[in-house]
Structures are given as structure tokens and as C-alpha cells.
């Protein structure tokens, strides 16, 4: 019995919703404590974008976004938000614009361009439930913590990514894909960090960089072995958002039309699986109702992965 289009989309949407509530709770947002505690480093822009997408169905997120606009917007990269926004369904744009408008109101003028898309109806409707200061000392908030310490920029993000790699090396290409900065900017920053003896290079083709997490343990208050590996949440979140969108768009579609669109979706978001090493079942011989079953298994695989790796 094939899973229905609505069931598949619902699975993705619920996993996405759970993930963002858990991550916001880690950052100290005014939300009830989540049952599960995330273990991996939070990708702050990916969290913002998925929240912006989910927001129409979860109005309580307005409180969180308003809180974050007032207390954490300066720790976000507008450039990276804009870059990642291109990978999200259009529905996320209104939420991002509403957040940006709130951030501008709070004095962070960097968001002015993104705020232009905000409409009267899309503005955040916070119930004034303000939280405290963001909790940055947590290891999961590493990227935000380093930005708070060193400023929002390529070097703080590279350091966060390399620390999250927990002593393993990463190529310029990988760092560029993870950070959203151009390979040229990442290469320049990595070389300067190497010159400063903050990062170390593994010679080879291509060259790769690493940092010794043990050396940072005193500064960050973490032990060398604690660090979670970096997870490619931006790609996973985009896939979940598009799957939810797919469910809405194809609620009335035939199994074939929904299947062929699902296949497009999967091909466009293959990197979410490859970069996170989530096995992807290939079964494209006959794209009919049977393909929806395969797609359902694929969505289940990524939501299971998310539960374990969040």
C-alpha cells in the first residue's frame, strides 16, 4: 500500500517542526523545553529559514522570531541568509522578510534590503513573549558563539566548521559549500588562519585544513572529544521544506505527476543525502505509484537521520 502524498509531506513537515523547536530551545528562545536535546552544531541561517517557512502553520514561531530579531539578529549573516534563501521554497521569503523588518526595527540595519519584501499582513505578530539573552555558551551554538566573539564573517564560520569537524580536515570546497562563502573568500581566510597558526593545512590536492579541538577546549570550555561533527542542516532543511511544499502542490495530482515531481525534488536535493551520508535508495525504473513508496522511504530515512543527528 503506497503512502499517500499527504502522509509523505506531513512526515517531512512534522520532522522539520520538531527540529526547529528543539534548536530554538537550545538557543534560549522563549519556548517550552524540548523533550530531546540536539547534539549537533546549529546552523543559524538554516534554522531561521526553516522557521520562516514553517511559520504560517506554527504561529507561535512569531514569538521566537521576534525574540531572535531583537536579541540575535546581529549574529546572523545576511549574505548567507540571502544565499540559502534561494534554495528554499518561495513561501519562506515572507517569513524572512518579516524577520528582517523586525530586525531593522530593533536597530540592525543590515536587514533593510530583505525587509523590503515584507507586507503588512506578513509582519510578525508576537504576543510580547520576550525571552532573555541568547544562550551561546552551549557547544550547539558554536557558530553563533564564535561570531559573537570574533564578528560575523568568514573566519569565525570557518573556525566553527573546523572545530565541529573535531580534528578532521576539510577541503576549501567543502568549507565553501558549508559556509556559503565563495571558494576564493574561504581560501584567503584559511590561508590567513594558517599563517596565524589557528588552522593547519594538510598538504595535498586539494589542500585541506583542520584545527586541533584540544587547543580550543580551554577557551570554549569543551573537552576535545565532545565536539559533534558538522551536519549539513541547510540542505536537509531545504529538502524537508520542499517536500512539504510538494505535498501541498500535488494534493490533487495523479500518482504519476506527484511521482515525477518527487523525483525532480530528490535530484535537486541529492546533496542533502550525499553530504550527510544518508543512504539514498535508487528506484527510478518505473515512476508510478510504486515510486511514491520509494519516496516515502527516502523521506522517512532523512527524518530518522534528523532525529538521531539533530
Amino acid at each position: 500500500m503506497s503512502a499517500s502524498i499527504a502522509e509523505i509531506a506531513s512526515l517531512a513537515r512534522e520532522a522539520a517542526t520538531d527540529a526547529i523547536w528543539q534548536q530554538w530551545a537550545v538557543l534560549g528562545a522563549p519556548v517550552a523545553s524540548a523533550a530531546a536535546v540536539p547534539r549537533s552544531v546549529i546552523d543559524p541561517e538554516a534554522l531561521l529559514l526553516l522557521s520562516a517557512f514553517i511559520r504560517p502553520a506554527e504561529r507561535r514561531l512569531d514569538d521566537v522570531l521576534a525574540w531572535w530579531a531583537a536579541s540575535g539578529s546581529t549574529l546572523l549573516s545576511v549574505q548567507r541568509t540571502t544565499t540559502l534563501l534561494r534554495q528554499c521554497p518561495p513561501a519562506a521569503r515572507q517569513g524572512v522578510a518579516a524577520f528582517a523588518a523586525e530586525a531593522v526595527k530593533a536597530g540592525d540595519a543590515r536587514w533593510a534590503t530583505l525587509a523590503k519584501a515584507a507586507s503588512e499582513e506578513s509582519m510578525l505578530t508576537s504576543r510580547g513573549k520576550r525571552g532573555g539573552e541568547p544562550r551561546l555558551a552551549n557547544y550547539r551554538a558554536l557558530m553563533l558563539r564564535l561570531r559573537a566573539a570574533f564578528g560575523v564573517g568568514v573566519k569565525a564560520d570557518l573556525l566553527a566548521l573546523l572545530l565541529a569537524e573535531n580534528g578532521h580536515s576539510a577541503t576549501i570546497r567543502t568549507l565553501s559549500q558549508a559556509s556559503g562563502y565563495t571558494p576564493a573568500a574561504v581560501r584567503r581566510a584559511a590561508r590567513e588562519m594558517e599563517a596565524a597558526d589557528v588552522a593547519r593545512v594538510v598538504q595535498g590536492r586539494p589542500a585541506a585544513y583542520y584545527v586541533d579541538p584540544g587547543l580550543w577546549a580551554t577557551v570554549l570550555g569543551t573537552s576535545g572529544g565532545e565536539g559533534s561533527a558538522w551536519r549539513w542542516f541547510a540542505q536537509v532543511f531545504a529538502f524537508l521544506a520542499w517536500t512539504s511544499e510538494w505535498g501541498q502542490e500535488h494534493a490533487e495530482s495523479s500518482p504519476y505527476i506527484a511521482s515525477t515531481a518527487a523525483r525532480d525534488l530528490l535530484e535537486a536535493h541529492r546533496s542533502a543525502f550525499e553530504q550527510n551520508r544518508i543512504p539514498l535508495r535508487e528506484s527510478f525504473r518505473f515512476a508510478s505509484e510504486s515510486y511514491l513508496e520509494t519516496f516515502a522511504e527516502t523521506v522517512k530515512a532523512i527524518t530518522d537521520w534528523l532525529q538521531i543527528n539533530l
Partner: protein, 195 residues
């Protein structure tokens, strides 16, 4: 391609056309037609499109035109279905439409059965046209070819063979051509099942 896959693939093309609010009518000959009409049961590699039909679809005689170039929306649908069903990218093709330069069987516009797959209308030519085209192809490619086998499987009557032969002999001006046609016709008469 099995008949069940062929049906599903055509239905998929039709759904894609319908999604684009488009409607296209193709006239199909060859193995796909033989399968879809249930005249023979063999795998086929492709769908041979000989013509497009204009509205009103189903009118007799049909208003036919050369199919090339296939509309962009149809070409996109063909490629997408090829990807999804693991078919060759030219699984629907118009190679047979070269026949327009030499002439089609004159009765063809009266010899079409229509099937609808959402936005795709498929016109299946009847026995008369199939026998004529298969006879021509057999003369061209030999009795052992798939066309020769199909022609025998169609088990044509004397009248059908005579009508087909009369048309086929108009397709080539060479002196030896009528004799080649006659040889094939004679072979079919001798080897067809008893009628």
C-alpha cells in the same frame, strides 16, 4: 516495451500535457499500434508517429498534417517520461513521417481509431493502413524483418493484400519494384494462416 508499459507511458505523457493545459493528437503506426489494438503481442521499442491531427479530433476524415516538429511541450513530456520509465529518449519519434514526401495511403484519414490519455489523443491506424505500411516495409527490408513477421501475423485477406499492393507499387518508380511487391505478396499468401 511491453504493452502495459506502453499504456502507462502514454498515459504519463497525457497527464503531463494536461497539467500544461495542452491537448495534442498523434497518429501512430507500427508495433505500438499493433500492440495497442491487440492485433499482435510483441515488445516494441518505440512509438512511430506518422501525423498530427487537428481539431475536431475524432472527425472522419481526420485532418492530418506532418508531425514535425513536435511541439515543445510534447518533446519535454517525452523526455521526462523517458527518464521516469527508463525508455530511450526517442521512444516517441517521427522517423516514419518521411513517408509524407512519397504519399500516405489515401484511405488513412478514414482508418483511425482514437484513444484518449488525458491531454494526449492517440490515433491508431486500422488494419488496411497497417497492412499497406507493413507490406511496403517488408519489400524494403526483407521477409525476415520484423515487418515481414508482423505482416504474416496480421494474416491479411486477398482483398487486403491487393489493396495494399496497389498502393505500395506507387511508392517506387523503379522497374523491378512491382515484381518485388508481387513476390512478397505471394509469399504472404502461401505462408499466412488459413483464412
Amino acid at each position: 516495451m511491453l504493452t502495459s508499459i506502453l499504456q502507462a507511458a502514454l498515459a504519463a505523457v497525457g497527464e503531463l500535457l494536461e497539467k500544461e493545459h495542452d491537448e495534442i493528437a498523434l497518429v501512430v503506426v507500427g508495433g505500438a499500434t499493433l500492440n495497442l489494438l491487440g492485433l499482435i503481442d510483441r515488445t516494441t521499442q518505440d512509438v512511430d508517429v506518422i501525423a498530427r491531427a487537428a481539431n475536431p479530433i475524432g472527425a472522419v476524415p481526420a485532418r492530418l498534417a506532418p508531425p514535425d516538429p513536435l511541439p515543445d511541450v510534447l518533446q519535454r513530456a517525452i523526455l521526462r517520461v523517458a527518464r521516469d520509465f527508463g525508455l530511450a529518449t526517442d521512444w516517441i519519434n517521427t522517423a516514419i513521417a518521411r513517408q509524407w514526401s512519397q504519399g500516405l495511403p489515401p484511405w488513412l484519414p478514414h482508418d483511425i481509431t482514437w484513444r484518449r490519455y488525458a491531454g494526449l489523443h492517440v490515433g491508431l491506424v486500422g488494419r488496411r493502413t497497417l497492412i499497406a505500411l507493413k507490406l511496403f516495409a517488408t519489400v524494403d527490408q526483407s521477409l525476415r524483418s520484423v515487418h515481414g513477421q508482423d505482416l504474416l501475423a496480421l494474416n491479411p485477406s486477398d482483398e487486403e493484400l491487393d489493396e495494399a499492393a496497389a498502393w505500395v507499387t506507387t511508392q517506387d518508380a523503379s522497374d523491378s519494384f512491382p515484381r518485388l511487391v508481387a513476390e512478397v505478396v505471394e509469399h504472404v499468401r502461401q505462408h499466412r494462416r488459413d483464412r
